[in-house]
Structures are given as structure tokens and as C-alpha cells.
Amino acid sequence: MKADPKGVLTGAHFIDGDHACSEGALAAGCRFVAGYPITPSTEVVERIAERFPHIGGIFIQMEDEIASSIAIQGAVWGGKKAMTVTSGPGFSLMMEHIGYAAMTETPCVFVDVQRAGPSTGLPTQPAQGDMMQARWGSHGDYSIIALSPNSPQECFDLTIKAFNLSEQFRVPVMFMMDECVGHMIERVMIPPADEIEILPRRFYEGAKENYMLYHANGEMVPPMVKAGDGYNIHVTGLTHDERGYPSMTVATQEKLIPRLIDKIKLNEEKIADYREDQIEDAEIVVVTYGITSRTAIPAIEQARKEGLKVGHLRLIVVWPFPEKYIRSLASKVKAIVVPELNQGQVVLEVERCAAGKVPVKLVPHVGGTVHNPKDIYNAIISSNNQKAE
């Protein structure tokens, strides 16, 4: 299905990543946003609040992030596409409801414009410190999808993708921006509405009698209904059976939880999105995501000039982690370098998949600014000296 032209601001714009994210959400069909504005994500909701009255959407500035993260789920069950927007401290408060969205299979988008933490940290400065929290922050076992844009253009394009993925798999999708990408201003090309592919919600249209809310009919993802359409529904965070009713038995848990995880895990390669640059003959591969994929480029180019065979793998989808790809990469190259604006998060996954086959070198950074490309260059050089034979 094509995007509703009402929400699409076709043309060339010179805007920041936050505003581009808002436009991506509008183009994706998002018509409900609840949030508690927080630096450096405030511009996203500011623009949404300004634009919604013209296109027919509802923005609510809630009392806090806990309320925001559940209000959007009410809107989704009412039939809307919805998102909330925050930064680290607010993201922490939303964790309970991310688990609720995963458990109730409520498609929605959580935007986290990451800033340096922990706690209040450096509100106006970037980090990538919430990557593991995005994957594991809520209690219990569940799966989510997380995307990591590196430019305002991608804040637009990938926000649409985030909404589409959330509908396809009925999961909360984490949109992991950072302050640098959020406040960076670049050209953003917004195509005509009829060139934007939107995945509509898959609604159940069968009989109302004996309707079962979570009956997947042999598929991994059941269709949805809207509250108020005459189907009897019960949505709960308790372990539930196919009817949606609480059923606190091991048997129900054993049926439900693996499906919630497998619908993502078994589709890992389908969901995977990464960019390879000169990987084919590379001896050293730099694995990056988000803003770090840009700060690594001068370092990689410098090392290549000096004759080193350096490839660049950029993860756009960080969760689910592309396990199979990294496993096979680790058996082809001699060293992996992972720069991150944190003290080592996604590198743990790279190490797990490399399984000791090749050295994996973290280039950590506390955040507050981005990497100096020199530090990444030095890590490439030292990895070249220690690479596997």
C-alpha cells in the first residue's frame, strides 16, 4: 500500500534528524504520538505536535514516560499507528511497557535519541549507551527489532521501515538514534506519497463468534482486530492462551513465549539489513552502527591508503543481531574492530558470534562526543599487528 499523501511532505528539505524522524512517522501513517519531551529528542515531538492538527492526528504530552509508553498501545488497539519518543532516562521508565507491547504483540515504535548516561548524564551530547537496554531492558524473555540510522535521510527512511516492521511482526520496534544524528542537519529527500511503501495493519475479518485474538492459524504472527469492532477481545500482559484469556499454566507459557521469540529469531535473515563495503577481500572488518558508521570512514580510508585490506560492515538492523552473517564473517577475516559510543555493548554479540576464531577489538568511547577517527585508525593498525594467521 502507498502512503497517505496527507502525511507526506514531498520535496527536498534541509532539516535535522529529529524532524526527519517526525516526517518519517507521518509518512508511515503514524497518527498518534504520546510523549514526555526530553533533550535531545524534543524536536521530534515538537514537529509532530505542529503537524498533526493539519493532517488529523493526536499528540498528547503525557505526565511522564510510563504513561506515554502505554497510551500509544491503547491507540494501537484503537486502530492507529502510534509511537513514543524519548531519550535514555525516559527509555528506562518505558521498559515495563516495552515488555507489555512484546507480550500483547502490539505493533508500535519507540524512538530513543540516545544521550550520554548513565542517569541524567550529558543531556545535550551523544552516546550509544542504550543498545543492550533496547534488547534486554524489560523483564522476561521476548524479542524486539532495533534500527540504527546514521543521517537525517535515514531518520526519515528508517522510521517508515520501523513502522512497517512493527506491523509485519507485531512487535515494538526500537528506533535507536543519538544526539549527533538527531541534531545534525542535512538534505532530506521526501519522495511523492505514491513512491512510499507502507505496510497496513493485517486485520482479521472473519466471524465474530468464537473469535480468538491470538489464533495465528499456523503462522507466526496472528492478525489483529480493533477494539470496538464487535469482536470480544481481552488484551493482557499475563500469560494468555489463543483467546487472549489469562492462563497461568506451564503449557500455555511453553506455547506462547517461544512463538514471541521465534517470530523474530527465525526471520533474522529476512529482517537483517546491513551495508558491506569492500568486505570480499578484507582481512580486517570494522563493524559499526549509527553515527559510528560515519566516524569510522576516515579511519578506514586512511588504513586502505596505507595498503591494509580493511572492510566496513554497517549494521542498520542491530536487533535481531545478524548472528549467521557474523559467524561466517569471522571464519573469513583475520580481525574485527568494533567502535561504539559506549564501553562495549554490541561488541559482546560480535565476540559471541566470532567465538574465538578471530580477535575482536573494541574501540570504546564514553560518549559526550563522537570518536576521533584516529582512535579507530589506531585500533585497525593494532588489530593488523595482532591478526589471526
Binding site: 527536498a12 528539505h13 534541509f14 535531545p40 545535550t124 551530547q125 544526539e179 549527533c180 541534531h183 545534525m184 542537519i185 542535512e186 538534505r187 553515527i291 560515519r294 566516524t295 570512514i297 576516515p298 562526543t369 563522537v370 577517527p373
Partner: protein
Amino acid sequence: MRTEIKIGGFGGQGVILSGDIIGRGASIYDNKFATMIQAFGPEARGSSCSAGVIVSPEAIAYPYITSPEVMIVMSQEAYTKFTPELATGGILITEEEMVSPHNLRKDVKHFSIPATRIAEELGKRMVLNIVMMGFTTAVTGLVDVEAMRKAVLVSVPKGTEELNMNAFNRGFEYGEKVMQN
């Protein structure tokens, strides 16, 4: 080649809008790439403020300014604070009556324009930044002049297009004269 531009002044002079116009001109109307990052720390709320724009014929990887080749300065405080960052052999553009360029490095190519006075002659002191943009376009040649004119037109408030276009043209003509001498 990647060119880094830093614009400094005090709040209300249109520092951020100036960066916006250069970036928009380059990336939307001149077939180039541009990345702009505005100071977003406590300095954005104080008296001096700055914007950094990178213009390049190729995609821009590293988004921050490290050693600007072009600096546009509209206040004395910004002059003192920012000029030490100017790259060797860089271009410094100042507002003539607001900035006295003392202890200026010998390697710097310095151009100045009484932009505030010109803006006042046009009837609105506010357009001094647009005068500076016209002047910058003439002395640096960084972005095509027609592209800059288009960027000015879409960036300024509706109803002020003519005034701003006059301001841009006055700055541009002043710059052309300076370059001829």
C-alpha cells in the same frame, strides 16, 4: 574537497539561519553535500553562538568541524573565541564595525564588510546576516550565487523576500568589488 565553515556571533544576529542558508544552497540547489551542526550545549543559550557547516562535492562522513577553512564572525566575542580554530591560510570574514581584528594571524586571508550599516540603509538591521551571506558568496565562491539566492528566498519569512534579496545582492556586490581590488 571538503570545506568546513564556522559562523559565530551573538544570539539574534541570525547565525543559525546563515548556516542553514549555506547548507540549503549547497545541498539542495548546488548539487553538493552539506552537513550542519549547531552548538547545542549551554553556549546555545548564552551570548555567543555558533554554527558549523561542511560543504563537499562528496558524501560527508565525519560530521563535525575540526579546523574550519572559512570563518564568518559577527561579534568581537566570537572573534576572540573562535579565530584560533581557523585553519592555516583560512579565510576570515568579519562584520567591519562589530569586530576589530587585533592580533590577527599573518596567514589568514581577511575580508570585512560593514554589513550592519548596509542593512540599516536597507531599512532593517536584522538582515545583516543576509548581507554577510552575499558577501561570503562573492569572496569564497563556495556555493553558486544563484543557488544561494534560492536558498535565501526559501529560508526567510514570507513577505520579506525582496528585502532579503536586496540585502544579499548588496553584500554580493560589495564582495565582488573587494575581490576586484
